[in-house]
């Protein structure tokens, strides 16, 4: 009895998680008229319009957008992981002047209201000559990921036994070697967690790319979706097809990384 109730609870909650995706898939397969007339129903009437996907794909330069999105996401992930594991290593393993100040300054960045810094950030980036470039999209995204990455990596490194470090020093390892060869591989679960979070974040980010990018060939996938939104008079079927194209790479990669995500969260946030 208890078991049945348990499964009912889990199942109902699961439904609410899945329903929007069912609706997205259903709507993307509708005909334009059906999507317009019955927007609420997740089930298409009449023939399934698989052709919408190829139409949407070719209507805009989606292949190029796709490449742009991949480039941006990959570099953001690599940058976040390398830069902030280094910082976290210092916070977790060394005693030095100004540690608390620097640490809390970076953590407090989490609370900075994004809308207010948008224009100043743009001025800053164009002063560096970085508009319309991958670097211009990427650097602020890496910087924005700092608070949580530093927090998680620092507490993760904190859980790794200190004797390990001392052994390594005795073996004649330099600090960088210890970081790179020993601590980084040990932190893989936390790296997985941060990688996933930033993959999702950078993949879906739209506000910043919209501001810093002027040329269609530099658009990312969500920007393409936004463009589709206003160029096709809210044709829900096309929009949802575009949305699915955008979300599928994340969906596909997710089950693989999911386990690692949980593991990273476990150690990183529990044992502080």
């Amino acid at each position: 009895m208890v078991k049945t109730i348990k499964h009912i609870i889990l199942f109902i909650y699961g439904l609410t998680c899945v329903y929007p995706f069912v609706w997205m898939i259903g709507t993307s397969l509708k005909t334009s008229q059906d999507a317009l007339a019955n927007p609420q129903s997740p089930f298409p009437k009449g023939p399934l319009m698989w052709s919408t996907f190829s139409e949407v794909w070719s209507k805009l330069n989606f292949s190029r957008f796709f490449v742009n999105s991949v480039v941006v996401s990959v570099i953001v992930i690599v940058g976040v992981v390398v830069i902030y594991t280094m910082m976290a290593f210092a916070f977790a393993k060394f005693r030095f002047k100004g540690k608390k100040l620097i640490y809390y300054t970076f953590i407090a960045l989490l609370l900075v209201p994004g809308v207010t810094t948008l224009i100043p950030l743009y001025i800053n980036m164009t002063n560096l000559g970085l508009q319309n470039s991958y670097v211009g999209i990427i650097l602020p995204m890496i910087n924005g990921a700092a608070p949580f990455a530093i927090f998680l990596f620092t507490s993760y490194f904190g859980t790794i036994s200190h004797e390990l470090y001392e052994c390594a020093v005795l073996d004649g390892c330099g600090n960088f070697k210890i970081y790179w060869r020993i601590y980084l591989p040990l932190a893989l679960p936390a790296i997985g967690t941060i990688a996933i979070l930033n993959f999702i974040g950078s993949w879906n980010n739209i506000l910043w790319p919209m501001i810093i990018i002027d040329k269609q060939e530099m658009f990312t996938l969500p920007m393409g979706l936004m463009y589709l939104d206003s160029s096709s008079f809210k044709k829900w079927n096309e929009l949802m097809a575009g949305a699915l194209i955008t979300v599928i790479p994340v969906l596909l990669s997710f089950p693989f990384m999911q386990k690692m995500y949980v593991k990273g969260m476990t150690v990183g946030s529990v044992k502080m």
Binding site: Y13, G114, V115
Partner: protein, 297 residues
């Protein structure tokens, strides 16, 4: 903890992050703080006019009654979103995490429960909009199970008494997975032998929860609370797309107010001032939570 022989080694490890922050972070934060003391229309800083505290007086002290009213209303809505998210999400997440932990199909459920996290993009808010329509899934569901009084004829987002509830529902939906995973991860990390040892010693279930489980869940709860409060105070996209702050201002939040002030009314100084006051409030709430949880981060 190590004090290295060479004092600058730790700083070398910090260097890339700090350089990046100096390159992209410092300027925008500093500039934006400075702006809150200026009257500026958003283009060409040579046209900015120093106004001292006038922006702050406008929305905090009632120098402009309408702006002040908008600010406090928005602030109240942010607080409501934050509080209801914390109050609803944390118990549900804990219960679901417990249930999930003792289920064979955990992997499948876990994958499913993760889905809302992936769907943080704009598209999902359009889906929600559809569900809240007068003929949408919510009203249909309420009518089907005989709870007609819960159905909102104008759609949940189209009525000033329920629009904020709609926003809160979507925030809960979006905030639950992250918190659930946190707790799930925490629970699975507890060494089962601890419980065994405790039950051998004759400890009651309640004692075990209080002595073993809760100390572990405490820091997690703190992270969850701070994340949700921060999320609630930075809410913008969901409100902007689903209600635009309406009807009749009933779902306006700081994010949409700042946005409107900066980009539609071209009052960048006032917008910055509002934004930074909201930053201080969020910071204060975070500090308060840390204190009251007595957890050292």
């Amino acid at each position: 903890m190590i004090t290295t022989r060479s004092k600058w080694v730790p700083y070398l490890f910090l260097l890339p992050g700090i350089l990046l922050f100096l390159a992209v972070g410092v300027y925008s934060v500093g500039f934006s703080i400075m702006l809150s003391f200026y009257n500026w229309s958003g283009i060409d800083f040579s046209t900015a006019r120093f106004e001292g505290l006038s922006n702050f007086r406008q929305f905090l002290l009632g120098d402009n009654p309408i702006v002040t009213q908008n600010f406090y209303h928005s602030l109240l809505h942010n607080v409501l979103i934050a509080v209801s998210q914390v109050v609803v999400v944390i118990p549900i997440a804990i219960v679901l995490a417990f249930v999930l932990q003792n289920t064979k199909m955990a992997t499948l459920y876990r994958t499913v429960y993760f889905l809302p996290m992936i769907a943080s993009g704009v598209a999902i808010f359009y889906v929600w909009k559809g569900l809240f329509e007068p003929t949408g899934a919510f009203n249909a569901l309420f009518q089907a199970i005989g709870l007609d009084f819960l159905a909102v004829p104008g759609g949940m987002l189209g009525s000033s008494s329920t629009s904020l509830t709609g926003i809160i529902l979507t925030s809960i939906w979006g905030g639950l997975p992250g918190t659930l995973i946190l707790y799930y991860a925490g629970l699975t990390s507890i060494d089962p032998t601890l419980y065994e040892a405790a039950s051998v010693d004759g400890a009651s279930k309640l004692t075990m929860i209080m002595k073993i489980t809760w100390p572990l869940l405490k820091p997690i709860t703190l992270i969850a609370v701070i994340q949700m409060v921060n999320g609630a105070f930075q809410a913008f996209e969901n409100v902007f797309i689903m209600t635009g702050g309406g009807p009749a201002g009933s779902s306006e939040v700081i994010g949409t107010l700042v946005y409107r002030t900066a980009f539609l009314n071209n009052n960048y100084g006032l917008a910055s001032a509002i934004g930074w006051v909201s930053f201080l409030i969020t910071g204060a709430i975070a500090m308060f939570s840390i204190r009251s949880f007595k957890v050292d981060i």
